[in-house]
Structure formats: C-alpha cells, structure tokens
C-alpha cells in the first residue's frame, strides 16, 4: 500500500496500461507539454513519446470523432476532455457515433475508447467550469460511465476502462485530484459495474459517488460512531452499468435510502436510483427516499453564492438525522 494522490493514481494506471498495450495512446489539450491541468499526465511523454501522448488543437469535436475513428482503426484511445464542461462540444459524436456504432452496425466493430472528463466544482469555477454531467450519459444507451471517489478506485477503474472493449466515460472530480489515499501495490483492476459497500449499517442506506462520497464519509465521522454505525454507505463507482442489486439488497436491510450527488438533483442519477427502488422494492421502505443534489441553477461564481447551489455537509447531516428518525 502507498499513500498517493488521485492524480498520481490515474497516472499509474496510464503508465501501466500504456506499457502493457502498445495500442493505447492518449490525446487532449495541454496534456503533453503541461502534463494536464491537474498534473494527471505528467511525465507520460518522456515514457511513451509524443506520438502516444498528443497535444491537440482546441477541437473537441474532432478529438472525440478522431478518437472513435482511431478505435475503429485498431488502437485504444484515451481522450482527455480538459474539463467535463466542454463535453457538449463533442455531444453529437458521443450520442450518435460513440454510443451507437457497435449496435447500429450489428456488432461489426468494437469501440475500445475512454473519455476522461474532469468534472464538478472547483475554486469558484463558475457556471461553465463547475458541472457534473454524468446523468446525461446515463440516459444514452451504449456508454459505460464511471466516477471514482478515491485514488484506489481511480486507478482500478481507469485500468478497467482502458481494457474494456466498449466506450467508457470516466468522470474524475476536479477537486479530488489532490486527494490522497491508500493504493495497493501491484496489479489490480476495479471491475466496472460493481458498487462498493464502504461501511455496513442497519438502519439507513446512503448511496453516493465521486466527491460527494468523501463528503458523506466526512459527515459520518462528524456524526460519531453511534449514529454513523447505523448507516450503510455505498459508493456507486459505476453509474452505467449500475449495481442496482447491491443497492436493493441494502435498502431491503435498512428500509431507508438517501442519495447524495453533486450534480443537479432534478433528472440526476439519484432520480434513477430512487425510481428503481420505488419500482422494485418499495414495500421495504419505512421512509421517503431522500435525494440531495445541486439546486436547479448554474453554479454561481462568488464564494458567497456557490454553497447555496452545491450540496453542503450540513444538508447531508440533516438528511441522515431526519431519515434515522423518520417513519412513514
């Protein structure tokens, strides 16, 4: 085990996978010369050369489109979106090509490709640099979507994404890159599609992922063992495919569900989770399903305003306390 940052963990995954498979290459804006905005590509050009670590023009449409073509041509592209906020520039490529190529051509081609998208709020990034957009891609059949919350999973899921012969969107939270955590020595892969039960508990299931997972864990610490001990904490890790069985099993045990994500609550991943539970195991519920997500506003710039839109620890505390006390 080593204690390294999230950025370093992703870098290890890149190094190992690029060393393992010569077909893997990475492209994006400012990744070779700069090493990525978050340092997440540092040193890769020295190890693998500028052919396999490519700075691109500011042409997200072309980068993603060419990535798709490159995958069809026998390579394994990893594409950096710079900020997930710009993913809309390549939306048609994702929606109409990436997600559909294998299916609409009747399985003639595989599309091994990873889209890395640093998402979420950071440092008063304001409306166009603070977004969590995973829900959009959950709704598009043909894409896998993951969102690790810690360095260990960041490494394991990135390796899994690169090895997956299907397109994977890998959301990595801007504010997690500097977060440190234990990462196992040696080779491991975190399977896509498996949630992780981070903590067992009997009276409330809390499902979260990405940065909000760390907030939920922090809140549990604050709340003390007695309360926190009743909480079963699930780190979703994969949005698509979603490990609904783990969630359902937990809810059947705890009878209460709280979902927490940084993305806008309306139409977010939490809505899908709530709906699946309300569809498949509503009879076990002893309380309303509570969702915490961003309010339906763009993220404002001012430090005085940002917390009013983005979920705060206080809300999580209140929801946990409220749910543990609630009965229908």
């Amino acid at each position: 085990m080593r204690n390294i940052t999230f950025a370093e963990a992703t870098l290890e995954a890149m190094r190992e996978e690029m060393a393992r498979d010569a077909r893997v290459f990475v492209m994006g804006e400012d990744i070779a010369r700069q090493g990525g905005i978050f340092g997440q590509f540092k040193g890769l050009p020295d190890a693998f050369g500028l052919e396999r670590v490519r700075d691109t023009p500011i042409s997200e449409t072309a980068i993603v489109g060419a990535g798709i073509g490159a995958a069809l041509g026998g390579t394994v592209p990893v594409i950096d979106m710079h900020f997930a906020d710009f993913i809309g520039v390549a939306m048609d490529e994702i929606l109409n090509q990436m997600a559909k190529i294998r299916y609409m051509f009747g399985g003639q081609a595989n599309l091994p490709l990873v889209l890395r998208a640093p998402d979420g709020v950071t440092r008063s990034g304001a409306a166009q640099h603070s977004q969590s957009l995973e829900a959009l891609f959950m709704h598009i059949p043909g894409l896998k979507v993951v969102a690790p919350s810690n360095p260990k999973d960041a490494k394991g899921l990135l390796k899994a994404a690169i090895r997956d012969p299907n397109p994977v969107i890998y959301f990595e939270h801007k504010d997690l890159f500097r977060q440190r955590g234990e990462v196992p020595d040696g080779e491991y892969v975190t399977p896509i599609g498996e949630a992780s039960v981070v903590q067992e508990g009997g009276r409330l299931t809390v499902v979260s992922y990405s940065r909000m997972m760390t907030q939920v864990q922090a809140v549990c610490k604050q709340l003390g063992d007695e309360i926190a001990g009743q909480v079963e904490l699930i780190d979703l890790r994969s949005i698509v495919p979603m490990d609904t069985e783990t969630i359902l099993a937990s809810v059947r045990k705890t009878h209460r569900l709280l979902i927490v994500h940084e993305a806008v609550k309306r139409g977010g991943v939490g809505a899908e989770i709530a709906a699946v539970v309300a569809e498949r195991t509503i009879e076990y519920l002893d309380a309303p399903i509570v969702r915490i997500g961003a309010k339906p506003f763009p993220v404002p710039f001012s430090p005085a305003l940002e917390p009013a839109v983005i979920p705060q620890e206080r809300e999580i505390v209140e929801a946990i306390r409220g749910l543990l006390g609630a009965r229908i």
Binding site: R23, F25, E51, R52, R54, T56, P57, S59, T61, A62, I63, V64, G65, A66, G67, I68, G69, A70, A71, L72, G73, G74, T75, P77, D92, E93, N96, Q97, I101, R102, Y103, M104, F105, G106, G107, Q108, A109, N110, P112, P141, G142, K144, R163, D164, P165, N166
Partner: protein, 323 residues
Amino acid sequence: MNKDTLLRWYRTMMRIRIFEETVNEKFLAGEIPGFVHLYIGEEAVATAVCSLLEESDYITSTHRGHGHTIAKGADVKRMMAELYGKRTGYCKGKGGSMHIADFGVGMLGANGVVGGGINLAAGAALASQLLGNGRIAVSFFGDGASNRGTFHEGLNLASVWRLPVVFVCENNQWSSTTPYRESTSVEDIAVRAAAYSMPGAVADGNDIFDVYEKAAQMTQRAREGGGPSLLEAKTYRIKGHFVGDPEKYRKREEVMEQLDRNDPIKRFVERVLEEGLLTSEDLTRIDHETLEEVSSAVAFAKESPFPEPTEAYEDLFVEAGAQ
C-alpha cells in the same frame, strides 16, 4: 488506363446504378422501410476513388452511402438484405440504408449525421499512422457537410498531424432542398484546402478519368506520408434528396439537362467506345451480369428471415476479453 481497370470501373458504376434503381423501385413498392438516399449520378466519384484503395484501407461515408459501400467492395446481397431489415444484412437489420457498413472491407459506415464521418476517417488514419500499417483513409461527404464544424476541425487536425487521409467532397449542387451556393460561401469548396495548408483540387465528378487522376495524386501523397488533401468532385444529384422527395424546389429541366449531358456512366461509355477502349459486348455482358447480381440480391433479401425481436437486445456491448 488498362482494360481491366476500365472493366472494373464500369462494373462498379453499373452495380451502383442498378442497385440504386432497384432500391428506388422496391422502396416505392413499400418493401424497404426507413429513409433512403440514392447515389445515382454520382457513381464516378466513389468508383474512381475506391479503385485507388486497398481492401484494408478505410472509408467513411454519408447518409447517401450505398455507392461508397459497393465501390469499397461490399456484397450487394448483404447490403440489400440490410435495407430490407433482415438478419442476413450487414448490420443484422439494426442499421438499414443510413447505416450500411462493411467493416470487413474497411467501409466504416454510412452516417445519418451530415459531416459525422469526417473525423472518423481522420481517426482511422491516425490509427494507421500510430500502428504504422500503411493504411490510408478516405472520407466522402457532401457540399452541405463542408459547412459543418466537423469539416474544419477534421481538416485542421489532419493537417497538423499529417494524417494519411483524403477528404473527398461530393459537391452534387444540392444539400437537400438548398442549392449549395446559398449555404456555402465559396464557389469551389476545394479553395478551403488552403485554410489548412493542404492541396486542394476540383475534379469533374462526372468524369471518372478526371476524378481518378486527381484522387490518385492525393492517395499517393497520403501513402507517402505527405499528409491530407481535399478533393472536390463536382457532380449532380440526379434523383430527389430521398426516395419520395417531391422535388418542388428545382426545375425538372435542370435535372434533365444534367442527365443528358452529365450522366457519368453515359460519359464513360461514350468515351470508351469512341476511343475503342472497350467494346459494347464488354459493356452488355457486364450489364447482364449486374442485373442478374442485383436481382438475386433482392431475392436473397426477400427470402432472408427477419431477426427475432430478442435480437434487438444483442450487439450493444461486447464482453471484455472478446476484443
């Protein structure tokens, strides 16, 4: 041009023409579902360009993709079956006309999104460059597509990375109901090549010899590591935008004149006969064989079974390890 090539060209052009005429008829008869866009009148472009390619080279195509698919070497049987929505089709009935594809011959798909294939070709070329396998890519797209951002970004990217790709703009004068001069700010789309420091040329898209000559320089350049080029083939869309188009937006005479003066097959035939390069027996034999081929493709398509409904749940993802 040796006789073999000429015979091959003629066979390909006729195969496209007869395929398309047949599809037109079968669509109007209600046998083919969906949207269908025909390549009639533009056969010389795909035929000439694809005759410069190896099977392992790549092409990307458009919504008007039957011609490219045939020219790249696909089997008309499996194409027709696909158009009929049958399990024996290239896409097992999941794609239809707008998504016809034969990855086995490097045909990376028709595309329902105008301009959607341009960067896919650049990417396939990038893969070839990275893998050093010597393959090149060609992207076919329309005049209308040349106004999409994908065109700009793709050509710029291909240029800065010297990708082995040839961009072939099929300027058939129309994008759906809009004449290209009203939507495109240049007389010659080939002029846009200069914006990316790459060679650009205009070919008479209805003269297969001219297209071939100009495309040959570009494919050669791509093979030699010289990077991308832009070829504009001026041609004409003889049929409506899609089968069933009432074509109220243009005069019948405009079409008739083109048909009369500019049909690429007619022009080819006139020339090869005039110059004694081929005989009318050569041509008639191919006509017969091709008619036969296409009608057995229709028979094959009709006889083929539809997919089972549960097959709709296949082909989305491939299992890991199967790569």
